[in-house]
Amino acid sequence: MKKKAIILLNIFTVLLANCFFLTGCGSDAESTDTLVVLNYGKYIEADVLKRFEKETGIKVKYEEYESVEDMYAKYKAGSINYDVICTSDYMIETMRNEGELIPIDYNSLPNYKNIDPAIIEASEAFDPSHKYTVPYFYGTVGILYNTKMVDEETVSSWKSLWDPAYKNQIVMINSQRDAFMVAQEVLGYDINTTNKEQLDDTFNLLCDEKQYVYAYLQDETYECMISEDAAMAVCYSGEAAMGMEYNEDLAYTVPKEGGNLWIDSWFVPRTCKHYDAAMKWIDFMCEEEAATENFEYVWYATPNMEVAKHEDEETLADETVFPTKETLERCKLYEAYDNDTLDYTTTLWKKLKAY
């Protein structure tokens, strides 16, 4: 019987280990003088981080997350006091509404002048009087496709993702908001709709698509496309540009129905304990050299106007990286959902995954 008791305990430990991994991140960074930075995965050139530490003498605890929702969960868990965070437009709006943001002292950012005023203006959709944010990168959501398997005409519409001819060849984006956007463009709905009937239609259309979907992926999308495991994938423009670097047959487009323009920005949350260091961090990200290095690593459109000096014409003319005016006109920023809609769409997303 003792043996059974030991097995039983082992099993409890296994079950609990799951919970521990989710909650057990330590709070060791709080007491010391380290700056705690939270950013998307694969979103900074490692060398820039090292140079910041060397030049300013500030130690950085750098943390990453995969999706906007992960970021929010990490922040809300409250076990770590983040000093500066980079995330996407509509989440910044949510957190601004919750009073989680601290205004930025733009006077202490000498490099802020490098930032494109047009992008700052576009940011006013989520940061109305522009008090809280500094743009980092921006881009679009579109279709990355393999020209050997799909022709340009087909992917000029989001409807191609419902084409039975590409069964098990379609990679859908594993992010609730972006997946809903795709279906809403097909249906001709507003991508910020909160109408429950329209959301239900969106959900039903996505359920219908699931039979053709190879996988719902996010950070693995471009690897999957490089190795030609799929014919087309919904992904972000930078991910597409990165994939096209490795496989010449890949191309990227924002379908004619329109899509999403997103802007990722730095902001300072209420938990900030090192405000001056956080300002130095944000300023460093706006610096010409750092921005260039970062751009050459992540391949998203940079709002930093000085970067253009370092790039050749081919790069600057790359419509995947820098969306054209016509593309941008078709694209809209997401608006933050109210709590009710957020709960509703989260439930629908779960239902889709279980479908």
Partner: protein, 275 residues
Amino acid sequence: MINRLRTSFLATPYAVWILICTILPLFYILGYAITTPEGSFTLSNLTAIADPVHLSSLWLSIKVAFVTTIICLVLAYPVALILHNLKISNKGFVVFLFILPMWMNFMLRILAWQIILSNNGILNSILSAIGLPTVHILYTKAAVTLGMVYDFLPYMILPIYNALSKINDSVIEAAADLGANWWTTFTKITIPLSRDGILSGIIMVFVPALSSFVVSNLLGGGKVLLIGNVIEQEFTLARNWNLGSGLSIILMIFVLVSMSIMNRLDDSENGGMLV
């Protein structure tokens, strides 16, 4: 008396570990499970299992765990038997070979399966090279089951192998002396005597398979939603720790029930055990 004191003293670190890392978190989970995010008492997090989405993912988890266990058992028993009957001096080395893959990071091993099973992967390259049609396995339930079988197989082999090693050879010889053929000896002697190992093996495969979410995350491509994934997403994506805890408690109840069934099976046959 001194002996007993000494041994219980040695168990203290383990007891402390269990208290802090097992018992205490359990109470926390229970606390979350029976409260709302605002802190008032509710049972809705527990009854939420009746929600069609949760119910269907729980059912899927049970099916996947069941199939995984059966496949593991069918694969592991002959292996353990062969291992036991090997006429080489260094059996420890062969056992070591079975444990060896477990030294490598679990994620890496599962990621390797992604490369093998993908549309353009190693398996399909081989199939098309020899003129066979390609198969679509990655990001299906089959891939998730395969990943789990691969991962949990050693946990089935080892207890069965241990149980077989404990069987006294003279018992087998006696059966042969009394005229039993190989099949009769196997079904009447070997299997009943290795029952303990089989049952521990089943528990050690079924239970982690039931609550796993990593394998389905990596090999399910977001299309296979097991109850483990639902719980994970409640903690991360939906930020509803209360619901996540409630579903965890339900899952624990399922685990306990299946284990008590296994234990009963074990006890009822104990009377007939030799040695």
